[in-house]
Symmetry: D2
């Protein structure tokens, strides 16, 4: 019997990507689709690429509309998920694609988001040590941020194996869909095409504490993170370039071995053959993560680079992957490692 | 029992897209993958987005390698298909994604391609009147060119209904993958990004006789075609803007009605609601065709516009759709109308 | 003594491009810069590429602020220029970069813009027959629309020489800056990158009557225009593909000769050598127009294609060129035919 | 009297950009233009954006052709400059835009370029301490690499003021023109659009020793550099994100002060106001460098970011700036700080 899923926030990029995936998921029946400012509009006008849903109309995001589903996905602005989630039964699987329940530290939340902390839910990055067990059978899932997904998967093997000093330096380039669909001048095509630009420099980006949380857990000690996000002239994709000083005695071989071991059984994280480097085009529309790592002996650093699709593995694909685990079905159902390229 | 398929020319863009589709086609088992200059290389290095095939090696394109398959796809340069096809048995389904067998008129072939005409195979654009019947059970299929696919689907309803004068004016914009993977200076990213440029202006493009063939068949009289292709700064997609003078008495209503009737039952061709226009982003990676039509009363013309993905519906998706029909399985198997957007 | 120029609407794309040109114009001193919603803001925050003006603040668009200048450029939304222009003295050169004074026919204006017609000013496309004389010494200039600039320069030689039937078919691709800086969802980078899409199809675009006006004047008879604009994934540039049925007796030679004759002395319009076609990248940031023309004998049509930078020759460069003529200084002052490429 | 300049390698991107600048340089007369594989071809076919030079033909790169000029620019592949320079008189100003004479350490050269070291010429980055004096009156100039230009200008103030630990971590994104005009599969538009990808990871990029040379000189001690270049989907521009651990006692104020002091008198390097970050679009086609710096107290690092146009300040503009100094004319002649945006 099909699992019935509702999507709150179906008019945005995260919601649209989620619907793209759910449409081909064999175990899911798509139920209510909601959106507040767009309630009443045809989905065909808002998400013209989702042809099979073109004639569906958006409903308002209310408890009544969301009732009667087995799974409810929340693709809402930060800070709005808690209020909606409270009104859903404890036996409903609620998957929050926003930030509200990602952080364990209430002080971090308060500092970066400026509102009271709503709580902490099992974290939907199954590849991290211990994460799968926490997701199995859970009725609540906090989907990770897109940058923390790319960064944590690139660096956790180095930290888990004790190879890297606890000071990570990360520069990541993201496609513009990561900034959402609300129109702002700096996100206009005229502004972004032909341009690379940083933002949130110097520790201000809200994904920083989430990266620290993940890497510190892998390292078993507090890891500091210097994180610089940049906006790249492409619709999708994150390329995360991550490095840390190598601990004494680390060699190219020990680094390679640690990554091979950590990622060997992962269905979506693919350590590339030596000499081949990730490209975001290769994971376009797929749930795959391409990872490569090098030991720069002259600079004394481990450099790990990952490429993901920010909307797929970085948001909606990660949500579906965690849903599969929570529901006890095969983790890869409805997901692919095949990108759309060129 | 799975149908076993070989792909000759698996290292190019058409071959790569075909493999992307065949990988998720439930009735297909992927057999030999060949490529002459790249024989021996890992597919992971050539098509890094096709993760499940990363460790497959390319073989040379020989009769021995291609033997023992139920279907052989030819993604070869123009003029090379006939020699390979001759060596394949008559009971093997051969699907040519090149131009060799598209034209009925040997003189046209000779004039535009400069070599002897190899013959004419059933034409793989099922939506054209009579095309499906010719494909059913056929052991040979000529996949249409990408521009003719977009143009024919935009204009045949007008011609089939006798609404348009037999002089079509077509301007189409194509993503760069239509120009192939062989590196040439004018196809460098530095050259194409930020630029629109025409080519083959004035009747010289090889797809012109194919459009004339299709539109003339629909009209029941010779249709002339003025065709201007342009290269657009995007990897995929064709937007075809097609117009012809409206015959006397034609109205917006009669145009709309003709298109609704002609396209009503097509699984992949979608006539958009009035007021909504096609965008190539909406069909990215999908086999869908978005069509819209207007009657410009002041200028006395019918304007029909279509958007396709040149690699999917325009090449590899069209090939799979025709294969399905030839094999007698559901026409939509392994294909989607869901685009990857934004 | 320097000519003192004010710019009303200095925060938008047209205003920014105008300032870029005026900064290197040897005869101009930049005076007041105004903008209503952005009044009080530093130009450095609004136009970060105009480093020499970074510390200038925008003032409100009032008669007092605009007083005391020799030239006032109006880069305002359509319909707002008339009210401002009325308050400027008759001895001030007023150059309207909006649409308000372009059309001669009040009915056309009313139909396409929905407001009362403000009047008609000398038309700032000096290359059209008779246009230069009307601009010399004029105190009012209506700068043409970007599409009409590209289209008129591509087609007027054919019509002036009597080579073409009076039914033009035009498909043009424009960079996104033509749609302005006001943020709208369909102009987001995420939406436009990787996509081509038409708009205003079927005769609805406001630039249509302006094209008809220009081409009819050249032809000496009413020319109908079927115009389809498309949005291309690039910040700047217009590629206009224009065609019309050739009159009896027209040959490739007679077409070439007509274009060579019509464009021979133009400093900015460059007829390319045979075999070379325009590309918008080649005129990026320049006031040049690249034109090429072909006679498609099989289809019986003349195909003329032009490439311009929509912000330079299509807007601000055209404004400066007309200003030079109106002021009696060399027409090319402060303008270049050198593009920024690749 | 005009200075007569020859350009060896006029068909590539560096040569084309140099010609774009020299065409508007008031003191320069453009002499011989050479190119070996393209000798005999019209420049209009090779550099269609340089309209004033369209009818010039390329000559072969021989001593005879290059003789009789006051300045000779070498835009040749690495390793070819020395042989040409030897044949030019000692009184001719030779400006090498390649790598041959940038490095002081012959061992570094040998290791990264694999050929014997040709020598060391005065280094054309005038903003570095002591560099201007070495350039004044010099007859030989080595133009810096594009990445070292961006990185050195972002970080030298921190090192010169003793604020940073001698371990720099740099991730830079470059437009594709940095990879040159020779067609290679991974540089095709189809491959680069929509994709970010690293290359030369782990210390292998040839610009690394040049960065170490510059930063070590500023610091007065050996600075190690971890450098990761990435290819971004844009034709031009470099965004360099550079960081290093802050020395004890460093504050946001001391960092700001050091940068303001170091860059105060520079005509091309612009420290942005606090809160505004560089964007490559803002320096498109200009010789300006936008710099911003932050002190990330939580991570204990100084983060400095610069944006340049890789072809202008990063190559040809830097060459002209150094030429001006060497010739004793105003350093800013023929150069601009105004970008072409959007």
């Amino acid at each position: 019997m099909a699992v019935r899923a509702a999507v709150a926030g179906a008019s945005g990029y995260a919601g649209g990507e989620l619907l793209r995936l759910l449409l081909t998921h064999p175990g899911i029946e798509i139920g209510a689709l909601t959106g507040n400012s767009n309630a009443g509009r045809r989905l065909g006008a808002l998400q013209p690429h989702l042809l099979p849903l073109a004639d569906r109309a958006l409903e308002p995001t209310t408890p009544e509309v969301l009732a009667g589903h087995d799974v409810v996905f929340l693709a809402l602005p930060h800070g709005e998920s808690a209020a909606v989630a409270e009104q859903l039964g404890e036996d409903v699987l609620v998957i929050d694609m926003g930030a509200d329940f990602r952080l364990r530290d209430a002080t971090d939340w308060q500092r970066f988001y400026g509102s009271p902390h709503a709580g902490t839910w099992p974290y939907g990055l199954p590849e991290l040590p211990g994460a799968r067990a926490a997701l199995e059978g859970s009725k609540r899932v906090a989907v990770p941020g897109c940058y923390p997904t790319a960064v944590s998967l690139a660096l956790f093997p180095a930290y888990a194996a004790g190879l890297a000093e606890p000071e990570a330096v990360i520069v990541a380039a993201s496609g513009t869909s990561g900034a959402g669909k609300a129109p702002k001048p700096h996100l206009l095509g005229s502004e972004v095409m032909g341009s690379m630009a940083p933002y949130g420099v110097g520790g201000g980006h809200r994904h920083t504490p989430e990266m620290i949380q993940n890497l510190s857990a892998a390292a078993g000690e507090r890891v500091s993170v210097s994180f610089t996000p940049t906006l790249a002239p492409m619709p999708r994709g994150i390329l995360a370039t991550c490095s840390a000083r190598a601990r004494p005695g680390v060699t190219a071989e020990s680094v390679r071995e640690a990554y091979e071991k950590a990622l060997a059984d992962e269905p979506f994280v693919h350590l590339l053959p030596e000499g081949q480097w990730p490209a975001t085009a290769s994971v376009y529309g797929s749930n795959a993560v391409q990872v490569q790592v090098a030991h720069d002996a002259a600079a004394g650093r481990i450099v790990a680079i990952s490429a993901i699709d920010n909307l797929t593995k970085g948001t909606a694909g990660g949500a579906v992957q965690s849903m599969n685990i929570a529901l006890g079905i095969d983790e890869t159902t409805g997901l692919t490692t095949i990108g759309v390229a060129p």
